[in-house]
Symmetry: C2
């Protein structure tokens, strides 16, 4: 029996691979009624909204209906989405992973559920979640870095996401750390993402093996080294593989440079790193701190905690719901 | 006869080369009673404070005394200082250019003038001045980059300097743009300052001439190429020198990368570049914008003006006084 401690806000996390929904209480505690399934991206955005509608309806039934009246306990829906979004119009401008263009996701979900919605990008949601209920609770200045297929981020100041002049602040993945460096998927050279994203970690591992490095990774993929993923590198690291250690040390150096740049610019209390790369564990974070220490102002380094996120599965929905709550009338 | 439109706040700009003081009206308008002289750095900080005391007393006499009562029209003193400062205790921790260590500049000046003081670093003062009365008046998000002997900066949000957890936010000169790049005076490699500061511009020019490049610069220093300064490079640029054009184009590329990183991270309304480098003029700024366009998010680039500062001589005192005023009781 679930403790009914609403009112609730629905969190919807639309990923390139998975949809996650759940109910987040305004009062705190773990999210309830969690649902996760693969994103039906091949069937287009309307089909995805249909799925989300069913998942949310089920979740609400689970969590809230036992008390009888449903709608007065669910205040609205926070939606997190990858790619370029327009918060004001509730549009997804482009999402490389989903293939949507100028899709009115906010209105579609509002219509499907007859609830008000708030839209934000996935990196802002994850950052907000870690500030609200995770690794950086309540600090004044927090920067989130999301390391998954790509590298994203969010900047928080005084409990609010800094959005900037056109709503695109926090795109730390496309800051340059090596001016003539690796080609990035964005078309530029030397972006942090071209070194430290999950795809880049896998690519660097593959390049080294092609160049003759020895590693348990080759066995783990039965010689098909193109199948190596970042997750597999973290697995090899746990197995004590020396080559995986080298790849992770390099990754820590690159992430450390990007983080040192943020620390010198913003002097935050906390930098929280979220996403798959957290799977590389303490070894990664120790090496990140070493690099940051070398490249950042002493007082700024000493004032800043660099930590892994604490909400690996649920940051997306918690953050989306949290941002909805933070923007309700009457909130600070 | 000066128009008496106080109340006034004294601005003091302590540079490695020059001291500048002046009176800034709370109501607006040009600063009055300007005094400038070389910093007696070889005689130590107490002698410098004595000079400042004399300069300010003279300035107050010029501007305010004609009305009779002096002290009730001068509210206090804003002090801008290079190096690492502690605003709370009013200490200059270290200033490489002046050689001061843990010097209580705020208390010394307060005692000398019997007025309350506020201390900030020179880059924050210049940034605040450009937001308050210069190239970025009243915008929500502004980043200032100061390019002189070194490269510094300030970040403003909603009319306030962002200070960060330990007061060192805005140190954009030591963000990495080239991870294995040029050695910086801070001991690291690839900092923006190692490429784009005045000293680095001069150094790059000298290196190229040593490697055989031809330029009017060699004549301008009668063959003593070690005497080439950044200012001389700007002069050669005005003379149509091709080599100076190349050096400035390179400088624009480096500054553009640093600015693109700030734009991707913060999405400001305005980036204002201040300091000697502004002497390179429109040619520099056109090339900076080209580089930024390539490396920043489209919406963020389009939302951001990249402009030279408008207060070349007086940003330091205007900003120091402005920050004092912004922190007076009753101000937002």
């Amino acid at each position: 029996m679930i403790d009914l401690s609403g009112p609730w806000v629905v969190g919807v996390d639309i990923g390139g691979t998975n949809l996650v929904v759940g109910l987040v209480s305004v009062e705190g505690g773990e999210p309830c009624g969690l649902r996760s399934q693969s994103t039906p991206s091949e069937r287009g955005p309307d089909a995805t909204v249909d799925e989300i509608g069913r998942m949310v309806t089920d979740a609400i039934e689970d969590v809230v209906s036992e008390g009888g009246a449903v709608t007065d306990q669910v205040l609205g829906v926070g939606i997190g989405c990858p790619g370029s979004i327009d918060r004001t119009s509730g549009l997804v401008r482009t999402t490389p992973n989903l293939g949507w263009v100028d899709y009115p996701i906010s209105r579609k979900i509002a219509n499907a559920l007859q609830l008000p919605t708030v839209l934000d990008n996935d990196a802002n949601c994850a950052t907000y979640a870690e500030w609200w209920r995770g690794a950086g609770q309540g600090v004044e200045h927090l920067v989130g870095i999301t390391v998954g297929t790509g590298v994203g981020g969010g900047v928080m100041l005084g409990g609010r996401i800094m959005r900037g002049a056109s709503g695109s602040a926090g795109e730390v993945g496309h800051t340059t750390i090596d001016l003539n460096g690796r080609r990035c998927s964005c078309g530029n050279y030397g972006c942090l993402e071209a070194y430290a994203s999950g795809s880049s970690i896998a690519l660097r591992a593959i390049e080294g093996l092609r160049a003759g490095s020895q590693s348990v990774l080759t066995e783990l993929v039965n010689g098909n080294i193109n199948q190596i993923s970042a997750a597999l590198v973290y697995e090899a690291l746990q197995l004590g593989d020396q080559y995986a250690h080298e790849i992770i040390l390099e990754t820590a150096k690159f992430l450390g440079i990007g983080i040192a740049n943020l620390i010198n610019t913003l002097n935050p209390d906390v930098v929280v790193v979220v996403g798959g790369v957290v799977g590389a564990g303490d070894y990664l974070f120790g090496a990140i701190r070493e690099e940051v220490k070398q490249r950042s102002f002493k007082s700024a380094f000493e004032a800043c905690k660099i930590v892994p996120g604490q909400l690996p599965e649920t940051a997306g929905i918690i953050g989306a719901a949290g941002i909805f709550i933070s923007e309700m009338p009457g909130q600070l």
